[in-house]
């Protein structure tokens, strides 16, 4: 295999991260404020009535779901915007004429989007310590799930950015697809709380596997076996990579 152009990957990664740090307070403030709101509404108001889910206080139970909600949204929006913007401004030509291939471009953009999403998720975790006592049972697996999820959904966002032809298209997928999937994926409840039929329907939602695996790393509780969760994320990543490779090989929406 040809040696990768590491300075090229670094250039893209650094360029994307600088955009994040230029507006660091905006980047962090919005997810932190919404997390606090979730804690106030779901944790204090509703949580006061639910008390606990499968032995875990409700306030703590929703922390993994909240982190996943943020990671998914941030990963998709950062990665999609990252690659869409050069397409919009016309600077995409630089990536197409320079000695960087699909692997370098993907690593640079997706790496930066995933890094930003992970950073924000960790800030949310830190914020949650102010509201609830959270104990992480399997810290390694927690980080592993966080990383794999951020990676998978950054890849999805990257595909979205490659596909999009307008800013409207860029926003519609996170709004119409990601948010409902997270809410229906057990971010704020356990799938076992649903009637059997809806529990079956919920299990068709890929995000359920992510949240379940992630929650397991915190509390040792899962809606689906952890191995299945990991396998689902891995399959998702492989499919996304295959699609990206195809897009770069054919030049679809890139060299048009």
């Amino acid at each position: 295999m040809t040696l990768l152009n590491w300075p090229g990957i670094w250039a893209i990664f650094h360029h994307e991260m600088m955009r994040f740090f230029r507006t660091i307070w905006q980047s962090l403030a919005s997810p932190v404020v919404s997390t606090v709101l979730y804690f106030v509404v779901f944790g204090a108001a509703i949580g006061g009535r639910i008390q606990s889910v499968e032995g875990v206080p409700y306030g703590a139970f929703i922390v993994p779901g909240l982190m996943m909600l943020t990671v998914l949204q941030q990963a998709v929006s950062n990665a999609s915007f990252g690659i869409y913007f050069p397409k919009f401004s016309g600077t995409i030509y630089e990536y197409l004429v320079s000695p960087v291939g699909w692997v370098e471009v993907t690593l640079g953009f997706v790496g930066a989007a995933a890094a930003k999403a992970i950073l924000i998720a960790l800030v949310i975790l830190a914020t949650s310590f102010f509201f609830v006592g959270v104990h992480i049972l399997h810290p390694f697996w927690m980080l592993a799930f966080l990383f794999l999820t951020a990676l998978g959904f950054s890849l999805l966002g990257f595909i979205l950015g490659l596909w999009a032809k307008s800013f409207e298209q860029l926003q519609i997928v996170p709004m119409m697809v990601i948010t409902p999937l997270v809410f229906l994926g057990g971010a704020f409840y356990s799938a076992s709380m649903l009637p059997p039929f809806w529990e079956g329907v919920a299990k068709l939602n890929p995000v359920l596997y992510l949240i379940s695996g992630f929650r397991w790393s915190f509390f040792g509780l899962a809606d689906v076996p952890v191995g299945v969760s990991l396998f689902a994320v891995a399959i998702f990543i492989v499919i996304c990579l295959a699609i990206i490779r195809w897009i770069f090989a054919t030049g679809w929406r890139l060299r048009e």
Partner: protein
């Protein structure tokens, strides 16, 4: 000797069936400046885009310093810098960071001294910390050139560098190209300003309807295709060309005080001496004589017309 760029039977047919390029073959020597001339839609940008990697050819090969652009694309692209036709810059990025970013994309390590030198040579150093959105059109174009030079390419492509640029900026751009030529950079530029090709190029290629009609040294082209016009100003106006001089292609100005004579500079005898002698014999006094060489524009138009007729 093989050139720095070897293009062999290059063709491009789009899915729609449009043939943008047909069997183009040419060799470009290191250090020369080539101007590719042609009307809009002739295939100039397609040719450049294929060499740079923006468009995939349907046939033929291109080698840059021996590296095939498809099988050995990383090595080939490292040698190339492209200044696109449209100004495309990230609006909020500073000039310096923008150039440094491009250098990174080409796999080169950080070298702020080189970037400083490039920015200084393009009179952009004072603007290094300015976001590109705050720059004038001419400066933005120079930033694109700086970006294209950030990794020290051996070959620079300038796609319509002066399209939509005013006369002052165009002159400024020519000076930049002249400076790059002195530094030994091979330059391939497309233009439909013939004046530009005349001013800068060592060789001129004419492309029309996807075909390379010719590629020749500019001076040779001008000599060969260039006709000269001799204008003879007369002391006293004539009513008509004297019968003795008919059939020579002479034209009399409406005022009758000027005779023009078109001749071929490459012909064995231009006929000028004979004409002047005959005028003296006929008692016509000549006040002044001047010659004018036809411009590349006229050469170009006649070539494209010939190409279309063929």
């Amino acid at each position: 000797m093989t050139g720095i760029i070897e293009i062999d039977n290059l063709s491009k047919q789009y899915d729609s069936g449009t043939k943008a390029l047909s069997d183009v073959t040419m060799s470009i020597e290191e250090g020369e400046i080539i101007a590719l001339l042609g009307p809009n839609g002739a295939g100039k940008t397609t040719l450049i885009s294929i060499i740079c990697g923006l468009v995939v050819p349907t046939g033929g090969t291109v080698r840059v310093d021996g590296h095939d652009i498809r099988t050995d694309w990383r090595a080939a692209r490292k040698l190339i810098g492209l200044v696109p036709q449209e100004i495309a810059l990230e609006p909020f990025e500073t000039v310096f960071n923008s150039v440094r970013f491009t250098r990174g994309l080409y796999g080169e390590g950080r070298d702020d001294a080189h970037i400083e030198q490039v920015l200084r040579s393009l009179a952009l150093w004072d603007k290094r910390d300015a976001p590109t959105k705050d720059l004038s059109g001419g400066m933005k174009r120079r930033v694109l050139i700086a970006k294209a030079l950030a990794h020290r390419p051996k070959v620079l492509f300038l796609d319509e560098p002066t399209a939509g640029v005013d006369v002052t900026l165009r002159r400024e751009m020519w000076q930049v190209v002249e400076q790059l030529r002195r530094e030994g950079v091979t330059i391939i530029l497309t233009t439909h300003y013939l004046e530009e090709a005349e001013e800068m190029a060592d060789r001129v290629g004419v492309i029309s309807k996807g075909q390379l009609l010719l590629i020749r040294p500019k001076d040779e082209l001008m000599r060969e295709f260039g006709r000269k016009t001799l204008t003879i100003e007369l002391d006293e106006a004539l009513h008509a060309i004297p019968p003795e001089l008919l059939g020579r292609g002479l034209e009399l100005a409406p005022e009758g005080d000027r005779i023009t004579y078109n001749y071929d500079t490459t012909a064995e005898r231009t006929g000028i001496a004979r004409l002047l002698g005959e005028l003296a014999t006929l008692g016509i006094t000549v006040r002044d004589v001047s010659t004018r060489q036809s411009s590349l524009e006229e050469v170009f138009i006649s070539l494209v017309q010939e190409g279309e007729a063929a």
